[in-house]
Amino acid sequence: MPHVLSSSPVCPLPLLSFENVEVVYGQARERRKALDRVSFAIEAGETLALVGESGSGKSTLAKAAIGLVPISSGTIRLDGVDLAQRHRSVRALRSRMQMVFQDSGSALNPLQTIQRILETPLKIRGVPRPERLARIAEALEQVNLPTSILTRYPHALSGGQKQRVGIARVLLLKPEILVLDEPVSSLDISMQAQVLNLLADLQDRHRFAYLFISHDMRSVNFLSDRVAVLYLGRIVELADRAALQANPLHPYTRLLFESIPGQGRRHIELPSTEASGTETANTGCRFHKRCPLVTSLCREIEPNLHVTGHDHFVACHHAQTEQVASARVSRRAVNDLRAI
């Protein structure tokens, strides 16, 4: 949407931006797009939640952000710098973005003590030992862990403790943006609250930006400012959390919301087909095979992400209710659009 871009030429750059990022797995015949033209932006201090079912590309997106998966096309910028560059400075820049992993247990080397796990990232950055110890003590305090765990091995900790060690480890590097890849989904429900609260506290204190990946709408409700819905590698809806909850525009988003248990609905009428990575629609909207509103247009033309309401983007032919020109677009949304 170039005309939107030109209307606000002086926006400050976002902290992290994805611009038409694509990730392709496999070769030749087995080529599969895990991410397809994904664009969004995150600013300091805000949380963008990414939701979607398995195979939607959530984890790929997290890994692409952090540099664990090479992107096939598009640009990821941190503070305006293209992370694809191979400068030493880019590598230093990368440590400003850190990741908290889904499985709290598997992200810690099982053969190393907590002390060693926490010390190594500082050691390789040449931090002298007394300072290392001080910083570790400080980080542990922030995540509410006693220093007595330093001598323990990961398997001796509870799930919540392990996840907090994982958080402490990234805190040590003083990051500005954290990629949270389903940080509480492997925890028992009573532990989830503790970790979510901790993340909220840390954000308050350090003005972290969070890219929060989750399939659990309840924790998304708690932790996010904005929500992007991912379906088979594409963002199909992106909006303010409250706006999305109040007015989900994309049929998939609605399906997602309606499927969440515990809403007192016992019988939901649902189409019986479901998504899978191999059953991608070849043409048209990638949701059309499951969509109750499907029309011939949907089968032929893939809808683009467009603005429909206040900072509300959706990629659905049936949600084209408002003109782009009249849409109310905030400064933050301009960044999103610039990326788009």
């Binding site: 890994k63 952090i66 540099g67 664990l68 590598r91 990368r94 440590s95 850190q98 990741m99 992993f101 889904q102 499985d103 598997s106 992200a107 810690l108 080397n109 099982p110 053969l111 190594t120 990232p121 390789i124 950055r125 994982g166 480890r169 990234v170 590097l173």
Partner: protein, 276 residues
């Protein structure tokens, strides 16, 4: 760790294998003191049968070598060839497997092709040809066996690295800015080592078997006594003095059995831990 030790202690095959191996170790250690000098010196009349003469408990062979001395010195040689070749094989195999498995891509392709190549030529023929090219001496035999034994290590290591490099703690290490070398050596290797270690004992066992077969067909180092060469020498006497073959053969079988027991035990203990 303690639990691991306890489990190891409770593992029958490990305990019996280790017991056998400690007997073997004791034999190897006392051999030079009990029978100093060259076991191949002709100390006695030829072909004394076992039990016939108290000085030569296991008897003597066709050249008047004391079989007990030969057997005890031979233990050291057989085990040395086993351990030596496996050490080299494990070292090379681990490096190749680790590099291929960790980096993947073209490097991995090339290294995989290399291992495939070594797998296509039958091990024994290859060892035989190598020993023949470079003449049978301890070093050559060790190198030749190592040249074939690294393949299995490389495959195991590669498989381990391919799995482990996807583990979150390795991904975490990468996002934390660890160098590849550090990730390979410090983060992945210690976690990948269990099946390699469990395999070592089995590899030593098959290296000892391989050496004995080599010696048997006359491609052993003629300057040292190994159990295989004892069988080869005893073969001409087999029809009348069967003990010349039976004793070293049984020694090989017992030693290989012990190493296999330990290998099985280690497999059990280490893999159980890996899966838990």
């Amino acid at each position: 760790m303690l639990a691991l030790l306890k489990k190891a202690y409770l593992n029958n095959s490990l305990v019996s294998g280790a017991t056998l191996l400690s007997v073997l170790a004791a034999v190897i250690i006392v051999a030079p003191f009990l029978y100093p000098g060259d076991p191949q010196s002709m100390v006695a009349p030829a072909l004394i049968r076992p039990g016939e003469d108290a000085r030569y408990i296991l008897g003597t062979d066709g050249l008047g070598h004391d079989l007990t001395a030969e057997l005890m010195h031979g233990a050291g040689i057989s085990v040395m060839i086993g351990i030596g070749s496996v050490t080299v094989g494990v070292f090379v195999g681990t490096i190749i497997g680790a590099i291929g498995g960790y980096f993947g891509g073209l490097v991995d392709d090339l290294l995989t092709r290399l291992t495939e190549l070594f797998q296509t030529v039958p091990t024994f023929l290859l060892v035989m040809a190598l020993v023949c090219v470079f003449e049978p001496s301890l070093v050559v035999i060790i190198a030749a066996i190592a040249a074939t034994s690294w393949v299995s290590v490389a495959r195991i290591t590669r498989a381990q690295f391919r799995t482990l490099r996807q583990r979150d703690y390795v991904l975490a290490a990468r996002t934390l800015g660890y160098s590849d070398a550090r990730i390979i050596v410090v983060e992945i290797l210690p976690n990948a080592i269990a099946p390699i270690v469990a395999n070592i004992s089995l590899m030593i066992a098959s290296a000892i078997l391989l050496e004995s077969a080599l010696s048997f067909i006359g491609l052993g180092d003629p300057n040292v006594v190994s159990w295989g060469s004892m069988i080869a020498e005893g073969r001409d006497y087999m029809r009348s003095d069967w003990y010349l073959i039976a004793i070293p053969g049984a020694a090989i079988a017992a030693t290989v059995f012990a190493f296999n027991l330990v290998g099985d035990g280690l497999n059990h203990v280490l893999n159980a831990r890996a899966s838990s």
